[in-house]
């Protein structure tokens, strides 16, 4: 398991780019995601069914792509509990064999609320956007606010 280093709020600058994250999507990963998520819609699993539905073949779940964007942000944050908001539009299909790259940059930083807004995009190996209008928001509270109330 990879250890992470928590991002320091004071050192974040507006416009700063996050380290990009690239994932190679396979049929096996789509199957694994279907099992883990429960979403066994045949457009993700059954080649003949997907073609009959007018698709080029099985496609990855949009939420798998969003999970990659989530990981890019939380890897950078170094703490999953800091992510408060995540959204995006599924702009294109992801097929097995695609290499998708998540990238993002800090759109704004609020010193008062200690919140940072990040704009995100995910593109495929041809540079086509598969997730656009992506936004994440993180909160750098001075202490972790998520501890279970006793």
């Amino acid at each position: 398991m990879k250890a992470t280093t928590a991002q320091d709020f004071e050192r974040i600058n507006s416009g700063q780019e996050l380290p990009a994250l690239t994932k190679h999507v396979t049929v096996e990963q789509i199957r694994q995601y279907a099992e883990a998520s429960g979403d066994r819609n045949p457009i993700h699993l059954d080649e003949a069914f997907a073609r009959s539905a007018g698709l080029p073949g099985v496609i990855a779940h949009g939420m798998l792509t969003m999970a990659f964007a989530n990981q890019m942000v939380t890897d950078w944050l170094g703490d999953r509990s800091r992510l408060k908001r995540l959204q995006g539009r599924f702009a294109g299909m992801v097929l097995p064999g695609d290499d998708v790259t998540c990238s993002g940059s800090v759109a704004s930083k609020d010193e008062q609320t200690r919140r940072v807004v990040i704009n995100l995009v995910v593109t495929n190996q041809r540079g086509e956007k598969v997730l656009n209008k992506g936004v994440a928001e993180a909160e750098f509270s001075t202490q972790r606010s998520d501890i279970h109330a006793a």
């Binding site: 994932k23 099992e35 429960g38 949009g62 939420m63 989530n70």
Partner: protein, 133 residues
């Protein structure tokens, strides 16, 4: 075309017990393996504990969405607190809009998850696009 009279219909999951195995299966499937001490679920794990609400919508025989032509158009989440093993979470999903745009139908589904003490855990809005056959 889905009958707009179903707008307002809601679905509730059974309480979902979050296990370490379920979180690790999800982390393995998406390839997000980082841990910083305590095991916290990746935030998008909300799709796992809330999945049954989506499933109930997609399989509702009365609403009868054309799921063979349904794709996920947009997704928004807000997270009130992280999720960890031992959480028992219940998600309510509500069909809040059915709109048409050209030859597409847009279905909006809004979800809210709460813990066993009825405290908010996460909210989500999903937009599904149904391409007319």
């Amino acid at each position: 075309m889905t009958d707009p009279r179903w707008v307002g219909r809601s679905y509730e999951t059974k309480p979902f017990l979050v296990t370490e195995q379920s979180i690790r299966d999800y982390m393995g499937a998406v390839g997000d393996l980082s841990e910083d001490g305590e095991l916290l679920a990746p935030p998008t794990y909300a799709m796992v504990y809330g999945f049954d609400a989506y499933w109930q919508l997609w399989t509702d025989q009365e609403v009868a969405l054309d799921v063979a032509h349904l794709v996920h158009g947009e997704q928004r989440f807000s997270f009130q607190r992280p999720v960890r093993p031992g959480d028992r979470l219940q998600t309510t999903g509500r069909l809040t809009a059915i709109n048409t745009r050209g030859d597409m139908e847009l279905v909006t589904f809004e979800l809210s998850a709460r813990d066993e003490k009825d405290r908010p855990v996460s909210d989500a809005t999903a937009l599904f696009i149904i391409r007319r056959a």
